[in-house]
């Protein structure tokens, strides 16, 4: 399916949509390895507060980031029903805790509008653009730069 799309129109790409609290986001599906339910994590000492800890993903030690806290939307409260999006970014496996994963959509670059300037708020720092569908406003997250910023954040701790 995906391969066909790539050959017919290289502009098209797929995004996974998810929600954090009541807000909707999406990100490039290429980076997503799997989606799994919440499991207990092991706390990491002296970690930034958005890094919840590490979990065991079939033998690999994977850090889990509270995406809500990372984006400055406040610490995610209930975790039991939440899901973790496991991503592979530059050979590092990182999990992101979100409230729910809803859909996979196919967009081309032209569908995405640039983010209007709304001041240098943290929550929009990692937003690449915005996509408006019939009933929803989806923010496209630049998850790679988000993950990269995690490394720098933890170095400064």
């Amino acid at each position: 399916m995906k391969i066909e799309d790539d050959s017919s129109n290289s502009e098209k790409f797929e995004l996974i949509t998810f929600s954090i609290g009541s807000q909707d986001f999406c990100m490039d599906i290429i980076l997503v390895r799997e989606i799994r339910g919440w499991t207990n994590v092991t706390m990491l000492p002296h970690a930034p507060k958005d890094v919840l800890g590490v979990m065991n993903l079939r033998g690999a030690v994977v850090p889990i980031v509270d995406l809500s806290a990372r984006l400055g939307l406040g610490v995610c409260e209930s975790k039991e029903r939440d899901v973790i999006i496991i991503t592979l970014i530059e050979k590092k496996i990182v999990g992101f805790l979100v409230t729910a994963v809803s859909d996979i959509i196919e967009l081309s670059q032209t569908d995405i509008q640039p983010m209007p300037q709304m001041g240098g708020k943290k929550e929009n720092q990692f937003v690449k653009g915005i996509y408006i569908s019939d009933n929803k406003t989806l923010r496209v997250l630049d998850i790679a730069s988000l993950a990269a910023s995690m490394t720098t954040a933890q170095e400064s701790v």
């Binding site: 207990n40 092991t42 990491l44 000492p45 002296h46 890094v51 590490v54 065991n56 033998g59 030690v61």
Partner: protein
């Protein structure tokens, strides 16, 4: 194309082995008592090694390597034929040349052209050794190539140094087949046809008139005259397959000389004694470089080392990882089955036990695959010693012991830098000048020994020099001068020796090329600690210093004590644990607002709240239920870690946190426990170091640095 690249890779892999062989041979030569009575097999082996490198390099058009290896080979051949007598100078040049050849090979592997001037001078160094002015085939060949020494001037065709006569030479070949030649499907006519492609061939057939018709042996023999500008080895190549089944004699006569000079007679007896004769690599009358080569190659096959398999390291690592998972899964399974007792009963638990021991065995086996002998590392170090000795202008004898000791590959890799530092120090600072040495009644030549051995589940690597030992007064005054130690400090001898490992310490009056910048020994210390090892120094004034490194066998598993700290499970490496105690309130002494100490066997030990270190718990009241784990750091200092509960003692598989996340303060790594949860492994060195630093700031106590 892909296969060519693969072949190239194989070539470089093999080069490593050949170079190892070469160094082995050199070490053997160096160690031999009597240079005039050498084991010819050593030189043969070296020759074969260099020759294989040359041959391979030529076929991949690695001209610099080919050229240099050729020069090397020629000298070795002179040595072999007795034209050249070995002396220390030659051995030294051989060593530096072997080093340079190693460099060339690694440059070749990266597709980098070496510096032409350097190559030239290195070749000259080698050629300078040549006993005869007519430098074997080497010089004539270089004369042939007008642009001698220009790497590009040689083509890949010079795989065998030819008796290249520009005018061509005439070979007389005597060929007498045996019955087996025909039995094996060889056809003389085919051979002759092939020969005729080399040049002009004249074939004469000789038939035995007294031939008895019931005789099984063939009665025909041939005399061939071949005028060619190809080398003899080309001819031999054609006879390669038929050679065991025939008597072949090749003699060459240069076109304008009437007397034929036999260059080689490879004679093989008929099939009745097929296994007997092996062409001896003893110097042949003519002493030509090329003549013994084919036989050398053949004996190389017979002297093949024990069979090994080349495996991609990534594959092995992958396997090790998977086995690690298997062990984890097994313990998860065991735990969950034991929790729901009653199901399956005794039989199940027996099966589980079997399964457990199987996984252990597999794990051990896989770990053994990863283990490597320290030999390549030691050889690399030999080079460091040579180079350092040269720069420092000292004569050094380098000895190794326990080269076959096997250590985890990662450990070996990460030992390179620390060992380099230690050896440089040993040569530069440890050993005295020749004058001083003879004054002290020692051998003028200093000895540095590098040894490896397995000792109680750990690997101990020692660097021993027979130098002057640590000059303690100098060390102490230098340390005081630098403000590393308070002036009033009372230090024991071993305390002073350990000062060498302090950051920023150096006694060298001037900064030399080699050492004295005050970095080094502390880097050694921290690097070894990172490997889970310890460094110790033992010095005897006047008779030398021993620096001993003790390392775990593998970095993949660790014996740990599983403890609970403020609702988190942590693992403390067992190697550092001295004892665990449940303290009595009377033993604990409050010092200052936060610090507490405990008297253990009349020794005051600072208590470290593990929970506070990880910033996750309010400091608990330890008067009743706390447990103290007494640990020892690499300096022999004791610390008491306060934990809530000791859960278990087990072997854990080390998982890196860095690969997906990054460094976490006070945490060495992570592991996965039986329930599938991740537990962090405590980095004791970082914690105790932190405490030491805090202490030395506040108390300025000497213990903090000792």
């Amino acid at each position: 194309m892909a296969s060519l690249i693969e072949l190239r890779q194989v070539f470089f892999q093999e080069c490593e082995e050949q170079l190892e062989d070469l160094t082995d041979g050199l070490t053997a030569l160096e160690g031999s008592e009597d240079f005039s009575n050498l084991d010819p097999e050593i030189i043969n082996r070296m020759f074969r090694a260099v020759h294989s490198v040359k041959g391979g390099a030529a076929s991949f058009s690695l001209d610099a390597i080919t050229q240099f290896a050729h020069a090397y080979e020629s000298i070795l051949d002179e040595l072999r034929s007795g034209k050249l007598t070995l002396n220390q100078k030659i051995i030294n040049t051989f060593f530096t040349s072997a080093d340079y050849l190693t460099d060339l090979v690694s440059l070749g592997a990266e597709n980098v052209e070496p510096i032409a001037a350097e190559l030239e001078s290195k070749i000259k160094d080698l050629s300078a050794l040549s006993g005869s002015m007519k430098f074997g085939a080497g010089v004539s060949e270089e004369d042939d190539c007008i642009a001698a020494f220009t790497p590009l001037a040689l083509s890949g065709e010079m795989q065998f140094p030819p008796v290249e006569d520009v005018n061509g030479s005439v070979f007389e070949i005597y060929f007498k087949p045996t019955l087996d030649l025909y039995a094996n499907g060889h056809e003389p006519v085919q051979i002759f046809r092939e020969l005729s492609t080399l040049g002009v061939l004249e074939v004469q057939c000789k038939f035995d008139r007294d031939f008895k018709w019931d005789q099984a042996e063939p009665a025909i023999e041939w005399h061939l005259v071949l005028s060619t500008n190809q080398s003899e080895s080309e001819i031999l190549e054609i006879f390669e397959f038929s050679e065991p089944y025939a008597k072949i004699e090749i003699s060459s006569k240069v076109a304008d000389i009437t007397v034929s000079a036999p260059i080689e007679s490879v004679s093989k007896h008929p099939a009745s004694t097929p296994t007997m004769e092996k062409p001896n690599a003893a110097p042949d009358p003519a002493g030509e470089v090329h003549s013994a080569e084919p036989s050398a190659i053949r004996s190389a096959i017979s002297a093949a080392p024990k069979a090994t398999v080349r495996v991609d390291l990534d594959l092995v690592d992958e396997l090790i990882n998977l086995v690690g998972e298997l062990v984890i899964t097994q313990s998860v399974m065991t735990q969950s089955i034991t929790e729901q007792d009653g199901i399956g009963g005794r039989q199940l638990s027996t099966t589980l036990e079997d399964f457990k021991s199987l996984t252990r065995t597999i794990q051990e086996g896989v770990m053994a695959i990863r283990a490597q002998s320290v030999k390549p590392l030691f050889q690399r170090m030999a080079r460091i010693v040579r180079e350092t000795a040269q720069i420092a202008g000292k004569e050094v004898r380098f000895a190794t012991e326990g080269e076959d000791t096997e250590v985890d590959r990662t450990v070996i890799e990460r030992l390179v830098d620390p060992l380099t530092h230690i050896l440089r120090n040993a040569v530069d600072h440890g050993l005295e000048d020749a004058a001083l040495r003879s004054q002290a009644g020692k051998d003028r030549i200093g000895t540095v020994t590098l040894s490896a051995a397995h000792r109680s589940g750990r690997v101990v690597i020692e660097v021993i020099d027979d130098g002057g030992g640590v000059q303690r007064e100098k060390v102490l005054s230098s340390a005081i001068e630098k403000g590393l130690v308070p002036q009033t400090a009372q230090l024991s001898d071993s305390d002073i020796d350990r000062l060498l490992f302090l950051p920023g310490f150096s006694t060298a009056a001037s900064v030399t090329n080699l050492s004295g910048r005050g970095v080094g020994m502390d880097v050694v210390n921290s690097e070894i600690r990172r490997l889970g090892g310890r460094v110790a120094i033992i010095s005897h004034p006047g008779s030398g210093t021993t620096i001993s490194i003790s390392l775990p066998l593998t970095l993949a598993v660790l014996d740990g004590m599983v403890v609970d700290v403020a609702d988190e499970t942590m693992v403390v490496p067992i190697s550092a644990i001295v004892e665990t105690i449940r303290p009595d309130t009377s033993q604990i002494h409050q010092i200052g607002p936060a610090a507490r100490m405990i008297a253990v066997r009349e020794k005051m030990v600072p208590i470290i709240e593990l929970g506070a270190v990880f910033g996750c718990a309010p400091i608990k009241n330890h008067t009743n239920d706390g447990i103290l784990v007494i640990v020892e750091d690499d300096k022999g200092e004791h610390f008491a870690l306060a934990v809530d509960k000791i859960r278990d003692q087990r072997q854990v598989v080390i998982k890196s946190l860095e690969s997906n996340y990054g460094h976490v303060p006070f945490v060495a790594a992570a592991t996965i426990l039986g329930d599938g949860q991740i537990a962090l492994i405590v980095d004791l060195d970082e914690i105790t170091h932190q405490v030491s630093v805090d202490q030395s700031r506040s108390i300025q106590s000497i213990e903090a640095i000792a």
